[in-house]
Amino acid sequence: MVRTLLMRGMLSGVLAAVVAFAVAYLIGEPPLERAIGFEAHAGHAAGAAAAASETAEIVSRAVQSTLGLLTGLVVLGAAVGGIFGLTFAVAQGRLGRNGPRATAAWLAAAGFVVLVLVPQLKYPAGPPAVGSAETIGARTVLYFLMLGFSVLVAVAALDLGRRLAARLGSWNATLTGLFAYAAVMTAVMHVLPSLDEVPDAFPAAVLWEFRFASLATQAALWAALGLAFGALTQRSLERRPVR
């Protein structure tokens, strides 16, 4: 049972990565390409050897934007999908009386909010040329710290909601859990330092397009993961019903 769910999660994750690749390639690559153009231009303007064009030669842009992008997404998709399958194994039958498709869809929506949307409200995706090389260490630590807090607080809020369900009823207990998550994460975001490393001349429209494309890529990944996983689970239950 657990083995099946793990495998199904990884398979769904790979499928989802292909969907996410289409979104990333179509709407993510254009602003990313323009940001690289800005990066190279800024390097030349400063008279310095453009670091970007130097490193870009190891792997060509053509490979980065196709095979590299797909590989990165598939590896992440398989990893996220596997963990999704195991989280589904824990959630099934424990979170309300939802069927497999609704359980998977809710789980994917929660995953997107907790692992992508909330962390990116504080530390949004940065295109090339945004962020200085000296701060990559601090930025990486802060980003993963934010991810960790988001997961911990979400688990604690879920636990709180489940404890309160008997006393408040499931609707009010769910609302209390959601409010607790939002309140604590607001405090966490307030305490963690903010980053502002966008170069003055960087075009605002490109930055917005890039960040939107980043969220859209993640949304596509999570939506496809949840829906594919739910559909596959539903199909296997219909073939071989449990009791």
Partner: protein
């Protein structure tokens, strides 16, 4: 929530999902989490802030995915 389950249920009653004991999930969870962490590390962070492998090849190969997934890249 039960409305959604009723809408989506075709042939499978909403309560049909069995509860799997946590004891049964735990070993899979530990092993898969370790592998997943490693995978996320290579896509999201290797050769960025810190590197286990010298050079820039991994960073450059997954460069676009890292940026578009929202990880700090460089």
């Amino acid at each position: 929530m039960s409305d959604i389950a009723m809408l989506s249920g075709t042939g499978v009653p909403p309560a049909a999902l069995p509860v799997i004991p946590l004891r049964e999930i735990a070993p899979w969870a530990v092993f898969a989490s370790l592998l997943a962490l490693l995978a996320v590390w290579f896509v999201g962070a290797e050769q960025g802030a810190v590197a286990m492998i010298d050079g820039n090849a991994i960073h450059e190969f997954v460069h676009d995915a890292r940026h578009l997934l929202g990880f700090p890249c460089h």
